[in-house]
Symmetry: D2
Subunit: 366 residues, 4 copies
């Protein structure tokens, strides 16, 4: 099978670099189009990122000579789409929200589906906010979205914030198993890579913790409700619960967001054994479909007293699994545990790729 030609918007930024690095040798997708800010446009990708490759993973030498396009110039992408050399784009745009909104819409309007990592469209009611294992069915809103906008092939699908990936899939596995979760208090200890580059100054985080990340607590509390929502009247209606309180902190860790979680269940309360069994046995649509980026084991339950830890567990299942541990009774609520996921892979580019694989398998990318 010929690979699907894909583009990266924002290809020179941190998230864009992650897409480049992770898509190397992808079995379905092949990068054919790179776009970034006017500053990079016209340069080869190698030149555009010279001295500005910020990842600890390496780039893909095969892309070195691709000439970077101006992401604001949709005509080039449209021409590529027409020529059959561009099927869809990953959006890793790092601009003002209003600009991202407009630009992602323009690509979609030009017939180019946008699988986005940006936050701009997360609360657009007819745009699905996807975690492939949790709400794969939310893609059913896409035809409504297309119809409402008069788009044919183009559409926009987004992924949620990286901070909630450490608890969202475990949460969903329990809900799906029939346990109502009423309230949760969460504290996150987030890696510096989540802030992009240059991001967090070293003076702020060596031998320090910063107990605040702008906008992050709101995202961590609200986005789960849309993810748990249902399709109604052509839009995603948010769920009413769980009520979440999030305390978000920055810690001196390169990659991997850790969260401590206390949960209050509804009347039916699972035992610790039931919870760990549900998590261990949890498989979802990406696993059933055998999507290339789907972690074989979406939720890994660690038994050691002191795990999961970002240093040791962030790379589990190619950094796409969520690791949990310390499942134990909570004196205040019912159960508490520790969750961990890799923020730039599972929580960003890797999650975006998995969403695109899901969309392809569902027939939305053609």
């Amino acid at each position: 099978m010929a690979k699907i030609p894909v583009g990266i918007l924002g290809a020179t930024g941190m998230v864009g670099q992650n897409y480049i690095s992770l898509l190397k040798n992808h079995p379905w997708f092949e990068i054919t189009y790179l776009a970034a800010s006017p500053r990079s446009a016209g340069k080869s990708y190698k030149d555009a990122t010279a001295g500005r490759w910020h990842l600890r993973r390496s780039s893909d030498a095969a892309l070195d000579t691709i000439i970077v396009e101006d992401a604001n110039d949709i005509s080039r992408a449209a021409a590529a789409a027409k020529a059959g050399t561009l099927t869809f784009v990953f959006s890793a745009l790092e601009m003002e929200k209003a600009d991202v909104l407009k630009l992602e819409e323009s690509y979609a309007a030009a017939g180019i589906p946008v699988v986005s990592n940006a936050s701009a469209n997360r609360w657009t009611p007819d745009v699905p906010m996807l975690i492939a294992e949790v709400n794969p069915g939310h893609t059913a809103v896409i035809p409504f979205q297309q119809k409402a906008r008069g788009w044919d092939k183009g559409f926009i699908a987004v992924k949620p914030n990286c901070s909630l990936q450490s608890y969202m899939t475990p949460l969903w596995a329990l809900i799906q198993a029939g346990y109502q979760i009423k309230r949760m208090i969460v504290t996150t200890m987030q890696a510096v890579s989540g802030a992009g580059y240059p991001g967090v100054p070293s003076l702020d985080v060596i031998d320090n913790v910063v107990p605040y990340i702008g906008g992050e607590e709101e995202k961590s509390e609200q986005e789960p409700l849309k993810i748990l929502g249902r399709l109604e009247d052509g839009i995603i209606q948010s769920a009413d619960e769980p009520c979440i309180s999030a305390h978000c902190n920055r810690v001196p860790v390169i990659d991997g967001h850790t969260a401590t979680i206390s949960m209050e269940f509804g009347e039916k309360k699972p035992s610790i054994e039931q919870i760990t069994t549900i998590w261990r046995q949890f498989r979802a649509v990406p696993q059933e479909l055998g999507l290339p980026f789907a972690p074989e084991q979406p939720i890994i339950v660690r038994e050691e007293a002191n795990r999961p830890q970002p240093g040791k567990d962030r790379d589990a299942c190619k950094a796409m699994a969520v690791s949990v541990g310390r499942v134990r009774p909570c004196p205040v609520f019912d159960i508490r545990f520790v969750g961990l996921s890799h923020n730039t892979v599972r929580g960003a580019a890797g999650g975006g790729i998995l969403n695109a694989e899901l969309l392809k398998a569902q027939g939305f990318l053609r």
Copy 2:
């Protein structure tokens, strides 16, 4: 006034070194007696700590030539007490709990009051567990303790674990102001110095978080109840609330424990303004008595969005204040905030010194 001669048990360990460093030029106390394990006994303090001074603050050169005694040999301390060259001891013993229990009792039985940093006697019912600003009246249990054991001048007083210092005084200030606190969920991000030396291996904590500290969650949940308890029948009866759930984590920070706290009040709920006013105006017995180690401002309320931070706030009021910030509504409970205190000063040796100052002012050390 002549200074009171004091001793340090466990003088060569990390907590002992903190006592040495902090007592330099103390206006009331003068170190005259140093005791440690048999390995150090017979050496000068300088030799006993050669290549083993682990603090970033310096030692006290005036003590270099003191010969370290064997902490197990009470006869030497008893002789010093009899000779008037030793009034009381700070216990910074790092031994098995049973050995500390026995040894601290032996010193007290020999007429030497023990102001302890060790955890062994925290749950002895007639031993007060003191935070000088919170429960200074608990020292009233000491006469009962002395009577029950047949001790004359000797007694034991302890301080609680370092992990709860970041929220205990703020908590107490609100309770004292008439607000019932029913439930709290706390997550701590604790410094490596809390584990002593060698303590946490660097391989475990560079670019990592360890979401577990043995025994720490139990202490963080239970000790507040004894501190909030009342004297009854010659012992301290623990309070029934608040019900606390603590998630304790180790982070790559040298000094300073940070905590995120969500609180549920009783029927009477203070506003954010009321809370910050109560905290700002809070003064207690140590401040009224003008104790040398009492922080002028016991609770410092930071207004910046991203404070307190251990790197910037741990040293406030000579590292004896608790800094709080981000006081805001909690979607799940009523109020949430961030608390911070210096674990080896306020939470260990400095807190012990303040306790001794309180005991002196109250007439227990003579």
Copy 3:
């Protein structure tokens, strides 16, 4: 004695903040004038630094209400100088080199001496580059400078780069004692605070070393030659040796530059005992004059096998001493050792203050 009124140019930047913090309660100098970029001009100092106070040491509340001036507007400073409320300024300007050059000249031309931390004027031949213990006599170039420019009271004096402070004073002590030093190979491990704020991104330095700091090696190699130079024909003529090779690295340390040094002497070679004796006994003009910021012991020789270390030794003598250790034979050259100094105190604002104290004592500031 009334304190001398001083100003800070670049008062809101990192170096400016260090001046603010260090000058608190200075016995001779009192800050009366703060100037920064147009963005800050017109705001109170508190507002201008709100959320932008980057030091771990605190600010000086007494300066909170001073209105920040535009550093480009010399008329205000000139008026203050005329009114007797401004005697000289510390320059902590963070601008393009050409702009700093011009601005510092303008202040001097307006009769306001400039004691600068900036690098712009370091190679101006008639501007002294001062380390108060090493070349205090270089201030004799100032009258030539004033005469050549037609300046009356104003002049410019600068300090060298922070990277060489760890070895420059030890080097000088040996030269002064009669030992020629022909060649040196130096490797520095420099703290992130040396790069200012935001400076080094945390992604670049957590669990990493960056073996390059732009321009730093050249400064570390060349500036010592001017410092060791002599006044001739109204300018400072650089010395010819030692020939220095510097390898400069950024390491995950907040404050304190560490250097490893191998030295080759001329024919007369001191023994290790002679070297350590020279260093221990070294006292210079700042000590003789009793300048407030002069470290009592300019060079501290550590005897422990594993010192000096930035974490433990950077604050020695209020962070103004240089600590050295591991003085031992070098298999390739003659002697090798480790040097350490606090880069933002001794190597920046503290060094600038000491230079101003020297200039005051020498009668240049009136």
Copy 4:
């Protein structure tokens, strides 16, 4: 081809864990025998390492049920060797030098070749100290070693210290190309994993540098001379040069030793272009033999101004390559550069595996 059955002595320690992790799916070798201290003996490998798996890479689940033997009990290994289920052992013993010496000899005497990571036998004159790309011919001393001891199949081969791997191969490539290197001054910035577990306390290395590692400078200076030596009279005679001065430092890095190097050549001095060409084109016996762990590119020359960095370059060629950069003139000697290698892979277990592959290819393991 059936895989060769191998054992690990010291299997539960840090280096042992690295062997376990790296040998997973090795094409030639299969672990069949694990031995450690009496404390671990009799337990399954999973139980013996429960809560004590210190690597960030995972273990090999296939070995979980192997029962750990007592490394001191050679009879079990001898029986396995006789039964054909053990061909040779990797020694990762962490004991006193004298004990390692004796134990490694006992295994060899029992007919079991020992490929050692321990330092005990490095200076045994008839034991080769191998870097497979540098001195593969030194294995020719093995028959002399066997004859002198009366051993048949058994022998001992060792690898050098991890600290010199960053410069030894680049050095050799130049020597082999005909350039004499007379003197070198080296400063290393070494990762904490080099100290094993628990190794460096976090209190010593967060926000700090420790400018001393016991014994490391001697090894870094002397071992290269044996590696560059020649076989004569049945022993390895050390070379006379280069004369090396090493300054060894511990920095807050998990993996990867960085070194800055200044080199003085003999009369014939290569240009920078010649040097980088020699390094880029360097291939050696492991590459020619296609050994599984041989890095395709043994020396990677980075062109960026700020590379190599441990965080970004340690994993190059599966962490088996040496990365170099910043090749530039040295004002004191001729040329200076930065070298980097992964200390626990290239510098320890990975280097040991490559040595075993070389020995296998040369017919010494049968």
